[in-house]
Symmetry: C2
Subunit: 598 residues, 2 copies
């Protein structure tokens, strides 16, 4: 080369450079795959905002590119994206406290490591039976700046027109299509049923099996109303009255004329965000208008943050998500709920707990058969080799021993055979419960507003340090509930260090879901004198605004509780119940200090 | 050794023999595993007849032993075995023309090669939501000498007491537990619901969504009654009348007082015997009293024989299995149904067909996206690399081209992307259908009795040589139906060589499921003048006993049909319909010879 003249050298160089240029142009795709591009843009994968076209396939391509290129960020455009189940991938998912099933998933983030999804304010509109986000074995995922909604909600709403002993007349609101045929009201997607009915007719129904009355003006569950459960039904006995008016032929229904009757879905098939066996997950500036189940569900995951998010209805609807806003099961690390608004969800704002299985058989000295007893815990396979577990008496909730798992043999989604490293204690009895002893998460719940949902505010059932501060609660049931039992819900709880301070409890207990604003109870049926399931609770500097003589605190089987510097203010927000309750009810508890000075 | 004296030789021998004996005793298990034992006995694995104890785990052990030891036969004892879902293994199954789902399976014969299961006359009693037998990727399996029944059927039965414009009063028979609550009739397992109703209440319901009237005396579908479908429901609008009497609050129901109303299940979750992707399967001397779906379902399997079996109700029930007695989809080799009784099943005696997918998108010159369109065909992944397929016009059913599959990309249970070896024809249009060109099975249907079931007798939709002889048909609809369409059921049919001889058609067409005893039709909406979907049908030496002027044969778009030496006899088995029909209706057909001389 050195011997050649400058001209030929230049020519050679040019040819080489040109070759590289041509190669890099024609092999753009190949290059993309091998290099690491930090940021990818959803628009480059075929998703166009506001065009009404299904974006499921574009998302799939974009996520595949993120995986292949190790991209750190996927950026949306501001506008509406649409998602239909038709082309979505599917996977059988067991999702605790929601419903298992073969689910179509729009954003399937399985095995993704280090990715920020920046929605740039986009609205993600889901149509029909599709799950928005499932994170499984994912790590370091941040999802931010987007809204989730459904074009047809899984619940339906109607206005109460009238009622008598035999039934209730309602007018079903425009956004909730329905049909009344052959004596049954079914909620539908509004598409006309084509052709004759057969065993395989394709009509889509939005099954419903319970109803609950809401105050149309106050936008909250109506004063002191009860859930009305119908059991295993899909539609309601009914008669057409013309237009959108329907008579529910159910004896005993009552309500306030003009109030809103909400028909709850008979399933929790499509929670908004599922975080399963994942680590370091963060949600920021997410608005969840609706989901067919819980809003955010974390299970067996480590470190989850929900910050500056809103669970809130859209389009004048009464209800946002159809179950809890958030819910965390057998998680570890840190869980932080900060600066959020949780309103009008059809169940609690959060519940952070573990799961108990029941011992149903002792098959050897070191071996038991255990069963998940709650239908919505099926498939929750938390028992793993090497795991330390506690052995708990079902009726006293007393942990009487621990053991280490040697081997797990899963029989089916309910039943597992577990072998331990050592012989099991001789006093083990059938019916005992087993739960994981884990790195119980540290909980921070701060600066949230919780209001107008069904049932309770926060269910605190976690043994890690738990701090609940600077929140405003307006819940129809208990604002804070400490629970845990191993005979009905099979949820492991029992706080060990819990601080509740600087919160405002604003006219809570206007409904039936609790007897005290802060309710410390547990499913303890035996050994009440010795079992102390919840421990070390400090309640200070809170403001309790109450419309009635209600119980502020009910403690049951607690060891260590301090109540100090809390303020009580009387309001006239609701009619008084006419019953006089003790401010503090303390049962079977030790080391409880109540300082009523305000 | 030869130098030792006799005594020491004996001592030595004894020690050796003793050692062998001790070794074989202490290592019995190990020996069992390594040797091939031809016959295993179920009793050796913990299953005891007539003890009422769940035998699911014994079966699992026995089948594991069969696998491990390569046993050729598993022998039961005569008596009753019981099977509950609790400890059964589970697998997500897609079962054509039945319902997909995560199923508990009692006899899971996945991957088993060469095994005879000899029931020795045992009764296998199933309790609840459990599938009896699933054969998957199995080979050379013979199942013989056993009965299958359920303690609580998936359907329910009641006696019609009265009716008016607004509803019908029925008395539900003893064996079918139910509850009427909040205006809804639900069929149950008879267990009391424990505790308050919640979103996760555990009550087991036997969902029902259609009803059909049966003649209580004749033990068959009542004369000319229609199915009454309710769509996507689980229970019925109803009111308690006391005792087992219930008023169905459904306008327009009619019936004959004293007749039996059968409440059909709203699912087909648990067919009796599922044969999937298997080879050389034989059923002999099986009595199927009940199943929650079809009796025997074969899919993508090779060589299936059903001989000397009975599908028949037990315990005075009106209905046996809740859908077709047998059904075969995309099978190959030989299918033989010989010497069987198929009675009172809630659908046809058999249907042997293929499946069409619909082209919904052309994504490249050699690539299409196809969709399974019938809900109960979801997950029927028949398209495989190297497979030859036909391209069919949906509305004319004309095969206009063929192609060979290069690559298959399954998107979900409905949608698959298929790449072909070559460019697809230019005249391919969206909406065209695709089916497998396969070694269409040879069919022998001989010496069977088909009676008192809902709907039709045999649906013959297979291009292999088909012989139907020496059978007796007493079906309320068409005794023999040739079908196929690609717009509703998406079932590939079209016989090429079919003989129907020496059968007795005894007072068929006493119901609404057909207009001719032998009905040759197809879903041909266009090109009727050229499309000849069914070909070469010979109908000879049959006896037709008719109670009315009915159509014996309706041919539609057929090429080649000979009718000869058939006898027609008039009976008075049913009231005459009062309509006069042509004996032979021949539409859009070529080469049809009708010889009416008897």
């Amino acid at each position: 080369m050195l011997k050649k003249n400058k001209f030929s050298e230049l020519i050679s160089m040019s040819i080489i450079l040109l070759s590289i240029l041509v190669y890099s142009c024609t092999n753009n795709k190949a290059l993309e795959k091998s290099s690491t591009v930090e940021v990818l843009y959803l628009k480059d994968y075929g998703a166009i905002v506001n065009d009404g076209v299904d974006d499921v396939r574009a998302i799939k391509k974009a996520l595949a590119a993120c995986r292949a290129q190790g991209a750190k960020k996927l950026v949306f455009e501001n506008g509406q994206y649409d998602f239909y189940p038709t082309f979505a991938g599917e996977r059988y998912c067991f999702i605790s406290n929601n419903d298992e099933g073969l689910k179509r998933i729009a954003f399937d983030l399985k095995d993704i490591d280090h990715l920020t999804i920046d929605g740039q304010g986009a609205l993600l509109m889901f149509h029909g039976f599709i799950s928005p986000f499932v994170l499984e074995d994912a790590n370091h995922i941040e999802i931010e700046n987007l809204s989730v909604d459904y074009s047809r909600t899984f619940h339906s709403e109607a206005i109460i027109l009238d009622y008598d002993a035999e039934g209730m007349d309602v007018e079903i609101l425009e956004d909730f299509p329905f049909s009344v045929s052959k004596g049954t009201l079914l909620f539908t997607d509004g598409e006309k049923q084509i052709g004759e009915l057969t065993t395989v007719s394709k009509g889509v129904t939005f099954g419903s099996s319970h109803i609950l009355e809401y105050d149309t003006e106050k936008r909250e569950t109506a004063y002191m109303v009860k859930d009305f459960y119908f059991g295993n039904i899909n539609g309601f006995p009914a008669k057409k009255l013309g237009g959108r008016k329907v008579r529910l032929r159910v004896p005993g229904l009552t309500g306030t004329i003009g109030n809103t009757m909400v028909f709850g879905p008979n399933h929790r098939e499509h929670p908004g965000f599922v975080v399963s066996d994942s680590k370091n997950i963060s949600f920021k500036n997410i608005i969840l208008h609706h989901a067919g189940g819980m809003g955010i569900l974390g299970q067996r995951s480590h470190n989850i943050t929900v910050d500056s998010c809103k669970v809130t209805p859209s389009n004048g609807r009464m209800v946002s998500v159809t179950a809890d806003a958030t819910h965390f099961v057998n998680c570890t690390g840190k869980i932080a709920l900060t600066n959020n608004l949780f309103e009008n969800q059809k169940d609690d704002a959060t519940n952070i707990h573990g799961i108990y299985v029941q011992v149903i058989e002792k098959s050897a000295e070191d071996k038991v058969v255990v069963q998940l007893k709650h239908r919505q815990q099926n498939g929750f396979d938390f028992l793993k080799e090497g795991m330390k577990i506690e052995l708990v008496r079902a009726k006293s909730m007393l942990t009487y021993d621990t053991a280490t798992v040697k081997h797990v043999n899963r029989i089916n989604k309910e039943i597992t055979e577990v072998t331990f490293n050592n012989k099991l204690p001789a006093n083990l009895v059938i019916g005992d419960a087993i739960a994981e002893i884990r790195d119980y998460p540290e909980i921070l719940i701060s600066n949230n507003i919780i209001r107008n949902n069904r049932a309770r505010g926060m269910l605190l059932n976690c043994r890690g340090k738990t701090v609940v501060e600077n929140n405003t609660f307006h819940s129809p049931g208990a604002a804070i509930l400490f629970e845990g039992d191993s005979f009905f819900w099979f949820e492991q709880g029992g706080v060990r260090d819990c601080v509740i301070r600087n919160n405002v409890f604003e006219n809570c207990l206007y409904g039936v879901w609790g007897k005290a604003i802060i309710d410390v109870k547990a499913g303890i049926l035996e050994d009440k004198n010795t079992s102390r399931y919840n421990r070390n609770i400090l309640i200070e500097d809170n403001i309790f605004k109450v419309y009635d003589d209600m119980t502020l605190l009910h403690a049951y089987c607690v060891d260590g509780l301090i109540w100090r510097d809390n303020t009580v203010e009387k309001t006239d927000a609701y009619p008084e119940t006419g019953t006089s309750n003790k401010r503090f009810v303390i049962d079977y508890s030790d080391n409880v200090q109540i300082d009523e000075s305000e």
